[in-house]
């Protein structure tokens, strides 16, 4: 299934992408998707320790094996924030 992955700030600079469509298996966990993203963009690997994910506007642990990704979910990689 296809899912849309958004990159912001530092992630955008590192991957060179704002938004990428990923093809992943039908029943994939967040961790599965993250692994696929890091495989495609190896320079993301060192950032993952401080990364948070957003799945359909909810913050999720990038290591989660229990939160599942669905078709047409909007996923975003959230690097350390600095608003305000």
């Amino acid at each position: 299934m296809k899912v849309k992955v958004l990159f912001f700030a530092l992630c955008r600079e590192i991957t060179g992408e704002e938004s990428v469509e990923f093809e992943i298996e039908a029943k994939a966990s967040v961790k599965t998707l993250v692994d696929a993203v890091v495989k495609k963009f190896p320079k993301m690997a060192p950032l993952m320790a401080n990364m948070v994910l957003s799945v359909n506007l909810e913050y999720v642990d990038p290591k989660s094996t229990t939160v599942m990704i669905g078709e047409k979910d909007e996923i975003a990689f959230i690097p350390p924030i600095s608003g305000g």
């Binding site: 700030a9 530092l10 948070v52 957003s54 913050y59 642990d61 600095s82 608003g83």
Partner: protein, 196 residues
């Protein structure tokens, strides 16, 4: 103010006015997106804007006949960070989620304090030195609520809202990270509506 500056005859003032004009031209050439993102829900007003926030009259936006106080926080761009000279800041946001989290902050303020009207504004794009990057205002019948709610709101914003700041120096730039930001807190429920 321009006529006042010229009348004062100060060469220094004239230089300041001239250099501000140069800054404006540069910003114009950058072709920033000028779209605003606004969410207004009952007495909560949340906005992300590429335009200067200074045009907003926070008092007018929050005043209410039932209230005796308005508290305001304004965050402005500082010209230095740890000895390095900062040229300006650039702000980026995951707009949809930022608006959602800002709305949650408004709701959080109401849950904990007796506030009437709440306004949160955040700048996007280039924010020059001295200009406001964020404005938070709240009105309440008595001052303690507004003051405490606004204090809590800016602290929460720095921990939970997906906005990023790039500090730009003469010789490079760096992505900032808020000291209070803890990734685990976000997905363990800090950024969500409180259950109590």
């Amino acid at each position: 103010t321009l006529t006042t500056a010229i009348a004062a005859g100060g060469a220094i003032l004239a230089t300041i006015v001239a250099s501000r004009a140069l800054v404006s031209v540069k910003a114009g050439q950058k072709k920033q997106e000028s779209k605003d993102y606004i969410v207004e829900e009952e007495e909560d007003y949340v906005k992300l804007s590429y335009d200067p926030l200074e045009s907003h009259d926070l008092n007018e936006m929050t005043v209410h006949e039932s209230c005796g106080a308005i508290a305001t926080f304004v965050g402005t761009t500082r010209n230095s960070f740890q000895g390095k000279s900062v040229v300006d800041l650039e702000y980026y946001a995951y707009t949809k989620l930022a608006l959602k989290q800002l709305q949650l902050i408004c709701k959080g303020m109401r849950k904990k304090w007796d506030v009437k009207r709440v306004v949160i504004l955040h700048r996007l794009g280039t924010c020059p030195v001295r200009e406001a990057s964020v404005m938070i205002a709240a009105s309440s019948p008595h001052r303690k609520d507004a003051l405490e709610a606004v204090h809590w709101a800016i602290d929460e914003l720095k921990k939970t809202v997906p906005i990023w700041k790039k500090e730009r120096y003469e010789d490079g730039s760096s992505w900032k990270q808020n000291a209070s930001y803890v990734p685990q807190d976000l997905y363990n429920g800090a950024g969500k509506e409180s259950k109590d």
